[in-house]
Symmetry: D2
Subunit: 459 residues, 4 copies
């Protein structure tokens, strides 16, 4: 029968980590993503049937793939009992599940959410000492999970997080390998390590968040964090508690000609341009929304709506697959078409396009030194600004809030958008353009370039 | 033993068509490309050994892969006898080669070049009637090969082309399937059909070039054509007669940081930016050369040199493989690095970048109507201008000649580059920028957009 | 917009040829197979949406994928009007469909079946002359379609076939490329060429079936053919007229341990052993049915039933995918498991296995010369025996009829099975073993080896 | 610049584990295999250049790929200084190497061999605590490396092994992840865990070999182990010290017809039949050598010679790639052909084949109980017999020694081969057949089946 195996499935964008492990013909998946075929493929390669699906918690940043995966595999779904799920089976502290010699034991570890569980991994052919633990969004490599989802209970939740880590997880032993629910780049925590392998012993010594003691100090620290909450989180929570629309195969957007694309826009299709900031700046379709491919996971949830058709602009048709996956993981399923041939098709059809001038940081400095009258619009998060300061005189509006606060941006001056590196700046530029701003520029490089160039910075 | 098979291998860029066919354990390749692994793979799938390699002629637009493929497979190489090759075996009219039931018979068909041969395909298990013919650059689908390579013998060569087609190829019969050496998009002919399948019977009736009679008229028609000859053709002819440098594995350019890339530029590395026109327009490295990925095959040979290191800028690392293949097919092997992370890396390192404004055709019309003083630089080929006319007042310099004729472009006015669709315009823009022109714009859409928009045109 | 393209999709086993072609964003599929994802993938690569699905006729040898493909793509389905389909749209002589410059025009060509149509391919950018034709099962390369499906109308049907070929297809012109519905190895015709490319001109001269004249002689010839009709054909006809069960994703058989497999057998699962004849002969599970992987398409339809679970034995897990595809194309969807680890799992679990001795043809000759008393059971088709004769004294029962005629095989003597090459012989051996025969041997090599070895043969 | 990454490359057969890890554009490979392209591919995906290659020791069971990989990448090669390598750079205790934030530090850990080193992994962005260690063949998951390579120094070597583990490796801390040079199934140790992830803390508690104390007891235990040493080890040691023949691309064996294959055999080609035991038993070519695909790594080194051409028999052409890789990793590069179409080709050509009867363990028991006179030839290793006993009356000759000790096997009785599961038994059967034994049978299932069936066993 089949050998013991474990594979980590890393989904870029959300830096979501899911796991599949198995032995002797049976496999379990932990926190599957919605585009679930990859687990079927891995199970097949390992000659296992997926019999168990675990959810470490009701995820808020993506649609969990449990239900669709279970429809294909007949696997059982298991999750914490602290909330009422519309499907699956509640588990309790100490419940164990066996796949050949593998044992997964449930630890109830509320904090990030109340129903959060961790799963302790044992190899029963080597005794009872734990060898790994799946911690969901409780403990990450180099960081801990966010605890801001219950505004009325911030203190309680942060305390539970502390207790779960220090009283349940770390006592499993230094030898335990850590398998968290997210890696660096996730919106579910900040400060995670680039390194994707660690142990409880290493984290105990080196994870900066685990050095904050005592409990009250940790609670204060966590309460002090104010990560952004994209509005789509509410939809994810609803879907993940009551069941999302089934999706056994991915949407296949139609290739559209310039005429068809233009017509669909006129009928209400929202255009998401996934090209790079440079491409968008070079030429874009008026009315389109810039969300570079690798920013979809983090920012589409602020700007797209669930009841509008989506049309894509891509640099290459190869990007469609990833764009679709990023969107459907957030529940934006209604991707009806893409501009076949890309901007070239649009341009050679004689359709109108617009452009955004890229402004180098040296030019910002020159403007600053010459008192040039313009708006530098900084769209970073509050926390980033606290940490690294701002360019003098910049106007700060967080990117996710820009559509609602667009009236705070003066319309009588040129506006240059600014962020950490230029990617969010192009999103902001496209929002301004969609709102009719005339002279919009984009500072490619932004704060990263500022630091290299030695700009003036105010804190 | 293995079944009869035939596969066409289409190499984009040059629209080069090569073929592999075989039966009962043996296979032949016709006009292999330099990155030859694909033939090995197909032969393996069909359980055949490649025993024969045919060259329809000494190709002038790419390095033939015969020698390297023969080094791997021990196959014999066969080509026409009218020039002295430094390798392989000369063949003569009527020579036949057998692979199981497949027979390939040599027809000497000079014209495109003097040593050109065609190969007649028979299935000996079905008698002696030809079922296919490989015509190299003699006859294409919807067109015929160019005959301008021997300026002193234009008339003779065009006449030979006529004779080969009408006295040797077409008499094989209407039932013969046509397998030419190039498809639509090749620089080896113009007016080829998009359709990639045809027969001699269909061409006899529908190929416009085959309706030009009598012989003298055909010769006049061919002499009247003046396709461009990129300077690298000479190198290809030399390589393909005497043997190109061996390349058993493709070059693997190093990922370079912004600092490393800048340093390499300072030491003489030429930067080829393969991104789209929009991306380049949005932001580019001063001094770099724009050659969009799908333009490398047709235009790199005008601008790159064989003794300089090449560094790549790519939109995505996925593009590196194709960029490298396109370059090495033209003999540009010295691809030493690429900017890891792309322009984002450059921008966030605070390095300088420049931009080119995209100008819509409506703006051109407005400028024309208001007598705005600027240069519209049209870089299309002579033939294109004859066919479709020019924007009034435009300055015409063919793209390939631009570096040599750069002094013809006034430096005291804004210059807007213009071509068929905007892709060559961005190349021209980058050349102007490299030569120190200040205000350079690019007309994305160019003549294609003009036609849609109803611009004024002069013939 | 997208370039013109055409791809042939060859499905081994049934040697079924389907086609996808398109231009400018639209594509059509002709005779799609049930596991249809490949068409979606090709359309995506070519940036086309599948808008049309054509069925040349109500296929009898496989489940057509039209309905499932249409469910995914929203394409229209089109077929002949001579029978009432439960879905799709009837077409009539002269109806045309356009995909960019591609035109497909309907020819009604009854014969193989009454509702059979052919589709004439034109490239409208090159005038009105046909360049290709899709003939379904009317005309093949080197052969013509079978005409035995209407036992009461044999003469009429053969005459229609003749008329369709000689009055409608061949008059399209010698220059027309032939795209048939099957290639060599199909059960829908015999004598097809290995060569997969041809034209009407080449067939007119070289297809042996097209040399049979006049019409009456052709009819006599066709009536004289007696190809076998596997019993599953009836099911296919029903499915293809009224709609088969939907299958959007392929079945995923469970990996089973020896115990699980044994239990499932006891509960009625039929075991299909897809390994090679040598493997089966070496060791097999008592009660299992040998159908080597490449024989499933042609023979599973004789032996499997639609209401029984199927369990697989495979040489390698890599074979499961193909075994599943072969089975579901015939409608055998209920593939519930496979023996994980293969026979090794069974053997090391101590379970019982049996073997079949491989007997060389020299031994047959020796037995013949020494009057050894045994049964040589020849399971080939009637036609094969007529063509190549039999080993002296052999008992002939066609493989497909063996289960029904098992009582004709004496049980008191050793039985050696025999066919064309040994593959059907192993199927026959497994049938004998399932029916309790004690001493069963298999002549690997069979008639092919006989010919090489110079056996005695009687006609 | 590129993110931190680490990948384990597992090469089946030898269960060889190599690693590639990198950060910020640089990557290191530890113990690369000879077919090295996979490291190039992984480095490219991660946008890193391979700059360092480490050898934990002069490997004895496979050809290290360092030299060929360095030829492609210009990387430096690093290994222990205790022997004189003909290439690369010696390293010493405490030497460190940096790849972005990754630090690799050298620990000298002689034992398995004198020049063995371990590499301690730190993430410098998280301080100085080790997070991983690459231990080569010193410490495995669930076991330790063998110490039998220096017969005169067994005690010294085992002591060094003990010291390295307990004084250098374990003191790195429980939190350190273990990255050994082999996994379960390797010939470089026994008793390894199926589980492929562990930490020093987990091993300290659960690795049975690490519970053997004090030092003298550990030495006694190690000296008591007597693993087999295949003769090809000597060649590997020579190659890995002085440099193996360069192999930039894998050998491509020719497809051969039955006639060509037979002729090559007559001229001295050794036939290696990689099919399953059942397939070989069903029919095989007289004179061929059975080595099932997954047994090549462990057993080809006993039977093949470096100066003879090798011809393959495969179940499927898909197996050729793996067979070639397994063979060239052991230095058997001269793989000139394979029988195209497999045994079917041989059989239908009328060539002679032989068979081996598969005998079930129940039959063995029956024979035992009825005093049937035959030889049960048990070819397992000494250690296996000590652990699990033997079937009563069996003759024991270790498989690797069988050719030399063939005279110990009586020729006047039927011989049934026996091993752990039947795979080595088929190899033994083929050796007997090659030596002219008449009646040879194979006990598929062997000791594994015996245990399930409850055979008599003597210890």
């Amino acid at each position: 029968m089949s050998q013991m195996f474990m594979e980590k499935v890393k989904s870029t964008g959300l830096a979501h980590l899911s796991y599949i492990l198995g032995h002797q013909g049976q496999a379990a998946v932990i926190d599957p993503r919605r585009d679930f075929q990859i687990y079927i493929d891995i199970a097949r390669q390992n000659e296992c049937r997926i019999t168990h699906i675990f959810e470490t918690h009701r995820n808020e940043d993506y649609i969990i793939g449990s239900l669709d995966l279970a429809r294909r595999t007949r696997a059982g779904i298991y999750h914490g009992h602290a909330i009422d799920f519309n499907y699956g089976n509640p588990v309790h502290e100490g419940d164990t599940f066996n796949l050949g010699d593998i044992e997964l034991a449930v630890l109830e570890t509320p904090g990030h959410t109340f129903e959060s569980i961790s799963l302790v991994l044992r190899d029963k052919s080597f005794g009872n000492q734990p060898v790994g633990v799946f911690t969901g969004d409780l403990l990450f490599i180099g960081s801990v999970g966010r605890t801001d989802f219950f505004p009325d209970l911030l203190k309680e939740v942060a305390g539970l997080q502390y207790d779960g880590i220090f009283e349940k997880i770390l006592p499993l032993g230094d030898q335990v390998i850590l398998y968290p629910g997210h890696g660096a780049g996730s919106v579910c925590g900040s400060g995670m390590a680039e390194r994707e392998f660690s142990t409880l012993g290493f984290e105990r010594e080196n994870n900066p968040d685990l050095k904050i003691h005592p409990r009250d100090e940790f609670i204060r620290y966590k309460i002090g964090q104010k990560p952004e909450q994209p509005p789509y989180f509410k939809k994810m929570e609803e879907y993940n508690q009551y069941g999302a629309p089934s999706m056994q195969t991915l949407p296949e957007p139609d290739p559209l000609s310039a005429e068809q694309f233009e017509k669909a826009m006129a009928e209400g299709m929202l255009v998401v341009d996934t090209r790079s900031p440079e491409s968008f700046a070079g030429a874009f379709i008026p009315g389109s929304m810039a969300i570079p491919l690798d920013m979809i996971a983090a920012y589409a949830g602020y700007f797209l709506s669930y009841d509008r058709k989506i049309g894509l602009i891509v640099e290459s048709p190869n990007d469609i697959d990833l764009a679709v996956r990023y969107l459907i993981r957030l529940g934006f399923d209604n991707i009806t078409g893409y501009l076949s041939g890309g901007m070239y098709t649009w341009e050679t059809a004689g359709k109108h396009y617009d452009r955004i001038a890229a402004v180098h940081v040296d030019e910002l400095v020159r403007r600053y030194e010459t008192d040039y009258d313009f708006i530098l619009l900084d769209v970073r998060e509050e926390e980033e600004i606290e940490q690294s300061g701002m360019f003098p005189g910049a106007l700060h509006i967080f990117l996710g809030a820009l559509p609602d606060q667009i009236d705070k941006v003066p319309r009588d001056k040129p506006v240059t958008t600014f962020c950490g590196s230029g990617k969010r700046a192009i999103i902001a530029s496209s929002i301004l353009k969609r709102h009719g701003f005339e002279t919009v520029e984009d500072n490619l490089g932004s704060m990263a370039a500022c630091k290299e160039a030695g700009c003036p910075i105010v804190k």
